[in-house]
Subunit: 340 residues, 2 copies
């Protein structure tokens, strides 16, 4: 009998598409582990990707990102859309990193068949994690999730990586996190499509809001948005035609969240109309190709270099007998990969 | 006359070795920009590297890492050693990111010829930044700095990268930064050689200290260290023979800093005696080689693929006409790099 053997990739995909959550979880684990099977899964699923809208939510610890992601997912569900959530923030309650209260708060999502939540392993280098994240996004996209929310802790540089994974990047701030916030902004200005001041009911929220306005070179203005009273700021100046708005939210009570989700949808519309979506998709494809290509080239080189030679070369570099560039030339020569 | 033309790499190196700080700054900029000249600089300097001890200092924003790095540098200077400081934390006062008060506080270091401070650009991906950091470390090492302190903001995953760059990793905590701290620990336990609870004069310092002890599986013990009263904890359990100690410091007043520097020196001694230093140096060499090799292989492939073909393949992947693995096979075939 064959029924008790491990299911094939094809069987897992069929089951996952039919709504089997355990099959989906296994597919994602396969992809995360990045072996021969991962390749089979991604190769099979790739043609079915490209439909989901991918939203990156980033911000320092303590800004309430997880609660915001939770509230956004709930809003999307009310609009009839399915949502995949990927938490690559080790402090996220989605990955078990936060207080029990937070986890209880998002329990309703866990039981919802239109929501899938995955927290990413925290091992390995940031580069490896970024790549695994992109691969998991592909799986969820192929499975038909309408919106994919990636929660990532952002302090300075880490935010840059999410920009190449997501269509829309939301940068979350909160009052009272100290002066560090100010300094972090520089790199963020370039990648944020939407700013959020969460915990807007706390003291200092106006100051955080105004600090953001100042950094974006805006004066304060109050705009009524869909007839609601939350203050929304739509900047005048813009790069490439999109003016990153600033929203105030109180994610624990869902305040400001419908407006935020509206803005994400407006941004998606903007990307499509302006041709920017095509540009971002090319960039994502180039990124994906670059990773796979480098791994393939490295594998090819190692096949061609005599056994043990690579390790011996590493030791010679460590001992300063040769410099790393000379070592690379040596290895390229051994693999018959010299310049022509 | 030739005197007004740009100095050669050789001239810059000679000048930098003679103490010319502008020449050193230019060398580092060359290396950061990662071009043909960068290769020449690194190839020339590599044989002279391997003498500095490299210390990574990581922790969340608000832990006082910069002040601690400053205090450690001053302590090393008092011991007659020269110090290079690399700040890859965008919130660091070294990179201009913090309050004026912090920058004034470290002004004494700026005027000291035995100290060189460099803040790293905050552009590009984390992978790119990690590599540039390793290259700048090589330059400072070759220039003869005895100790190189790398300050990096650490929230979860970012800390993993520093572990492959440094010989000794110090993880800095501080009281009162909220519950996030707890969750961050998991990945940190594996990379920390030394723990520091900075701002130890603040309320909650004991709780933070004990939380660390608990995570390390230790009971509280008070040890007198060099006759001083600061409480130091030397755990019993250990992986690979080194027991990561926990120190309390008040970096603004220099309290606990001599003991911390002693511990770094003890760790260096341990690495050398145990053979672990050789292992870490091999790992660093493998890392360096891997980066350079992948770039070289990619350059070789692009040379061999007909003009415009790579870009066209990216577009086909973006349009889901082919999957990225098929695209890689296609490109490898065009470059005559198929498996044999």
């Amino acid at each position: 009998m064959n029924t008790r053997s491990a299911p094939s990739v094809e069987e897992l995909i069929t089951a996952a598409l039919a709504g089997d959550r355990r099959a989906l979880a296994r597919l994602i684990t396969i992809v995360e582990n990045d072996g021969e099977q991962a390749r089979a899964v991604l190769q099979r699923l790739y043609p079915h990707t490209g439909r989901a809208h991918i939203v990156g939510i980033t911000g320092a610890p303590g800004t309430g990102k997880s609660t915001l992601v939770n509230a956004m997912a709930r809003e999307y569900r009310q609009r009839g859309m399915t949502v995949g959530i990927i938490a690559i923030d080790p402090t996220s309650p989605f990955s078990g990193g936060a207080l029990l209260g937070d986890r209880v708060r998002m329990k309703d999502l866990v039981g919802d068949p239109g929501v899938y939540i995955r927290s990413m392993a925290t091992r390995g280098s940031l580069g490896g994690l970024a790549r695994a994240t992109d691969d998991v996004v592909l799986v969820l996209d192929a499975m038909g999730f309408d919106r994919i929310l990636i929660e990532t802790v952002g302090v300075g540089q880490a935010e840059v990586d999410i920009a190449s994974s997501a269509h829309t990047v939301i940068v979350v701030e909160a009052p009272g996190l100290g002066d560090d916030i100010q300094a972090i902004k520089a790199g963020v200005l370039e990648i944020a499509d939407i700013f959020v001041v969460n915990k807007a009911d706390r003291e200092g929220a106006d100051r955080t809001f105004m600090a953001l306005q100042t950094m974006l070179g805006l004066g304060p203005r109050t705009v009524r948005h869909h007839g609601r009273a939350m203050r929304v700021d739509m900047p005048e100046g813009t790069h490439e035609g999109w003016r990153p708005p600033i929203f105030k939210t109180v994610a624990t009570r869902g305040e400001g969240v419908p407006e935020l989700v509206d803005a994400v949808e407006q941004h998606r519309h903007f990307l499509e109309e302006s041709g920017e979506m095509a540009r971002r998709e090319s960039e994502r494809a180039a990124h994906l190709l670059d990773h796979i290509l480098r791994d393939a080239l490295m594998a090819r080189l190692l096949e061609r270099v005599p056994e043990g030679n690579f390790e011996a070369t590493v030791e010679r570099v460590a001992a300063r007998e040769i410099d790393p560039y000379a070592a690379v030339e040596h290895l390229m020569h051994e693999a018959a990969l010299e310049a022509e």
